[in-house]
């Protein structure tokens, strides 16, 4: 590359940014609606994702009503049931979790945590949100088109996804694929921002090894998403062409409802490879930000540095890289070349090692800590339990031969809900309790928060832990009703009813949380700038909530890593990252 020095001293961005470089809102519209401020965009992302997420939550209630009490609710038929599971899965995985972690938390936290004034491409960032909103609207519109949304399952496997035996074959699937394509375009715009901001706009002194793990997690997840989402894009475009123009990328010769179709020669397995080439990294795209955020929650509320920071960073990078070579463990019983099983089982189980290290380091951080059991910490503990549980059942499904009897049963449903449903949601909720004071300037109500935590955590565990055993018994997933099957005892139906009752309870308890969010906005206790006495930069802003440009006149300068809690010899039990060292205070590292 040509190395011409650009203006400024290499390596050190100017501490004082000229006013003209920052975008300034001029009216109410550009301040709150078409805003280019990452903090506003973050809130927009979070609200939109939560709104569509609530729709998915209601869908899950309808599913549970049907599963728990088959035949009781005549307004749910088999077609609708499939439409509910499809939309529930797609919304939760992509439109809620991915958007919330990267678009929501990423936008809010990255510029603040790395000490930047904003994302590097604010205009593109704004565009990213509006394209995302469009994708959500297109998705939501499928509920109102003739034939309704697609019922192909969130995996959208062809040939079934675009044939007439599946509900939503008309408009549903076309709009679903279009919405995915839009989502990916929007996400790419945002993702470029997150990555380049971390690479290029870190403040002075913020070396990579001084970054909070939250930034490491979101950064790595974004890099993965940028490389993995194109696979979904390719699959969606080709499936859309198969549906609209009658090409045969994925469609073999087949008989559709008794007549020979026009398709021929295509490979359904090709779609599955593309889908899971995206789909498996997607699991870690949701998990890595959760890993990062939960590390910071635990460290802050245990008043102790995160144990093994370096291992934590290396593990995030290793998991990110490995997750691209494990995709076919979703396809052990797909009929692919059987010898692949050895390779993918091995890589899948190897990925358990860096993941286990992260778990050990979280619990070791608690050891000899000063654990404040505030609501964010409770959610972090809830995350550890549900994640360990879900991660360990992953060792069943990753081990190729064990997967054979368990695949496509409720065991799989229980596993992935525990590990990438409940566990990340625990982190999302904990993170909201943790950062709400920074976003709004007010604390969330503590008593309501504790009630919310216990109902959500214990309830979710009661839903999904017993569900594994239904799968072990052999109950298949995606069944409108189980019907007569000799191997399913009547007690299994009782368990299903129990799970449904708990699910509805947990679902409704979220109203307490919504109430808390709204009530505290006006009536919550004033938070001050740094209510948790945390070290990271977002708590050191001159204003709370942070003003436009985040840092007032001068950018902060970073002198230390993000985890100086309970440093021996220091007066307070935390030292902010931007606090200059005192000459007398010498840290004797307790490294062994």
């Amino acid at each position: 590359m040509v190395d011409i020095p650009y203006e400024g001293i290499p390596g050190i961005p100017p501490a004082e940014v000229p006013d003209v470089e920052l975008y300034h809102p001029r009216s109410w519209w550009t301040r709150y609606v078409f805003s280019q401020d990452a903090k506003v965009i973050a809130v927009q992302y979070a609200l939109t994702a939560s709104a569509i997420g609530l729709v998915a939550l209601v869908l899950s209630w309808l599913m549970r009503l049907q599963l728990g009490f088959p035949g009781t609710f005549s307004f749910i038929d088999a077609n609708q049931y499939l439409q509910f599971i499809t939309m529930h899965g797609m919304i939760m995985v992509i439109y809620l979790l991915t958007a919330l972690f990267l678009g929501g938390f990423g936008n809010y936290l990255i510029p603040l945590m790395v000490g930047a004034r904003d994302m590097v491409f604010p205009y593109v960032n704004m565009l990213s949100y509006w394209v995302y909103l469009l994708a959500v609207l297109v998705l939501a519109s499928t509920f109102f088109v003739p034939g309704g949304p697609t019922g192909a399952g969130w995996t959208l496997y062809p040939p079934q996804a675009i044939l007439s035996g599946t509900p939503g074959q008309d408009w549903g699937i076309i709009l679903m694929l279009s919405s995915l394509i839009l989502f990916i375009i929007g996400f790419t715009m945002g993702g470029l921002n997150y990555v380049v901001t971390v690479l290029q706009a870190r403040t002075r002194g913020m070396t990579l090894m001084r970054l909070p793990l939250t930034v490491w997690g979101i950064f790595t997840a974004t890099v993965m998403a940028l490389l993995a989402f194109p696979a979904l894009f390719v699959a969606s475009v080709m499936l859309l062409l198969d549906r609209l123009l009658g090409t045969s990328f994925f469609m073999p010769s087949l008989v559709e409802m008794g007549t020979l179709s026009k398709y021929g020669g295509g490979s359904p397995l090709l779609f599955q490879h593309l889908f899971w080439f995206f789909g498996h990294p997607e699991v870690y795209i949701v998990a890595l930000p959760a890993f990062g955020i939960v590390s910071d929650l635990i460290s802050t509320h245990a008043r102790k540095n995160i144990f093994g920071y370096r291992m934590m960073v290396w593990a995030i990078v290793a998991i990110g890289a490995l997750s691209f070579v494990v995709w076919a463990h979703h396809m052990y019983v797909s009929g692919m070349f059987p010898q692949f099983g050895y390779f993918f089982a091995t890589t899948t189980l190897i990925i358990a090692i860096p993941t286990a290290i992260k778990v050990y380091n979280w619990v070791l951080t608690l050891w000899r800590g000063d654990i404040h059991l505030r609501v964010p910490m409770l959610f972090a503990l809830g995350f550890i339990i549900t994640f360990v549980n879900g991660g360990l059942t992953g060792l069943f499904l990753g081990n190729v031969v064990v997967d054979v009897p368990l695949s496509d049963t409720m065991f799989v449903v229980a596993h992935f809900h525990m590990v990438m449903g409940v566990a990340p949601i625990m982190v999302v909720l904990g993170a909201i309790y943790h950062w709400y004071p920074k976003v709004t300037g007010r604390m969330l109500n503590d008593a309501l928060g504790k009630f919310h935590f216990w109902v959500t955590f214990l309830g979710a565990y009661l839903i999904f832990f017993p569900m594994h055993y239904l799968g072990l018994l052999g109950v298949p997933r995606r069944y409108f009703e189980l019907g007569d099957a000799a191997f399913i005892p009547s007690s299994a139906h009782s368990l299903n009813a129990f799970i449904s009752v708990v699910a509805l309870t947990v679902g409704f308890s979220q109203l307490v949380f919504l109430f808390n969010l709204a009530w505290s906005l006006f009536k919550g206790e004033a938070a001050g700038g740094n209510p948790w006495q945390a070290t990271t930069l977002e708590w050191q802003t001159p204003e709370t909530p942070p003003g436009h440009g985040n840092w007032g006149k001068e950018l902060p300068i970073v002198y230390r890593w993000a985890y100086d809690y309970s440093v021996p010899g220091a007066e307070e039990d935390f030292i902010p990252q931007n606090q200059p060292p005192r000459a007398t205070q010498v840290v004797q590292g307790a490294a062994s």
Partner: protein
């Protein structure tokens, strides 16, 4: 899927090389102190837009390589009938090379702050890119007239799909090129102009490279090449 794995391996090597410069082995808790005491780990010195373009090229590259992966998996099925590549494509390729060359010229001129040269280069590059796109459309029309429709064979489907995706990327590039031209026309500051022109040139070279790879694939050269490699290895 071997193509995409190879592509990601290259990305991983680049990322690994970069990370190796970032002192990931350092013990950050021992490194308390002011800026500059601990070398390494500084932010990148390139302008954000250039890094952004680099990341975007990785994403777009991943997209094209995934299409290529799908292509190479689908073409092994017996119903594949390769379609005759229109001769026009060779002409189009030449035009695209010219386009890329014009932008390189423009970039060289920008380094000398030769505004006139920059403008000529940009306009020539933009015009030839438009000619390329028109040529591609003409090639589509010729194929359609000869009875090679999108859905009649997977080889045709891939031909139309790949050329369309490439064309859309080029169209997007034309928007950026238009903005750059407007900027130069209004008289931009030297560094700003140089950066914009440089980014356009990089993007054009990337799309030229992608096109050459796609052309190799569509004409079947890549197959021969892979077969030769396979024979050499075995």
């Amino acid at each position: 899927m071997s193509a995409i794995i190879l592509f990601l391996a290259v990305i991983a090597v680049i990322a690994g090389w970069w990370l190796s410069q970032q002192r990931l082995m350092a013990k950050p808790w021992l490194e308390e102190g002011p800026v500059g005491d601990f070398p390494g780990g500084d932010t990148m010195t390139w302008p954000a837009a250039k890094i952004g373009l680099g990341v975007f090229l990785a994403v777009a590259g991943s997209l094209f390589v995934l299409f290529i992966s799908a292509y190479s998996m689908r073409m092994n099925v017996t119903d594949w009938r390769a379609l005759p590549v229109p001769r026009l494509l060779w002409l189009n390729t030449g035009v695209l090379v010219l386009s890329s060359g014009a932008l390189q010229w423009s970039y060289v001129a920008a380094r000398r702050y030769d505004v006139e040269g920059v403008m000529i280069g940009l306009l020539a590059g933009g015009a030839s890119a438009v000619i390329f796109l028109a040529g591609q459309l003409l090639a589509w029309q010729q194929l359609g007239a000869a009875g090679y429709f999108m859905a009649s064979n997977p080889a045709n489907s891939f031909f139309f799909l790949l050329t369309a995706v490439h064309g859309l990327h080029l169209t997007g590039g034309l928007v950026a090129l238009g903005r750059t031209s407007a900027k130069v026309w209004r008289g931009a500051e030297a560094a700003d102009m140089r950066l914009s022109v440089e980014l356009c040139a990089i993007y054009w070279h990337f799309l030229l490279l992608v096109w050459l790879v796609l052309l190799g694939l569509l004409t079947g050269w890549t197959d021969d090449f892979i077969n030769i490699c396979r024979q050499l290895l075995s």
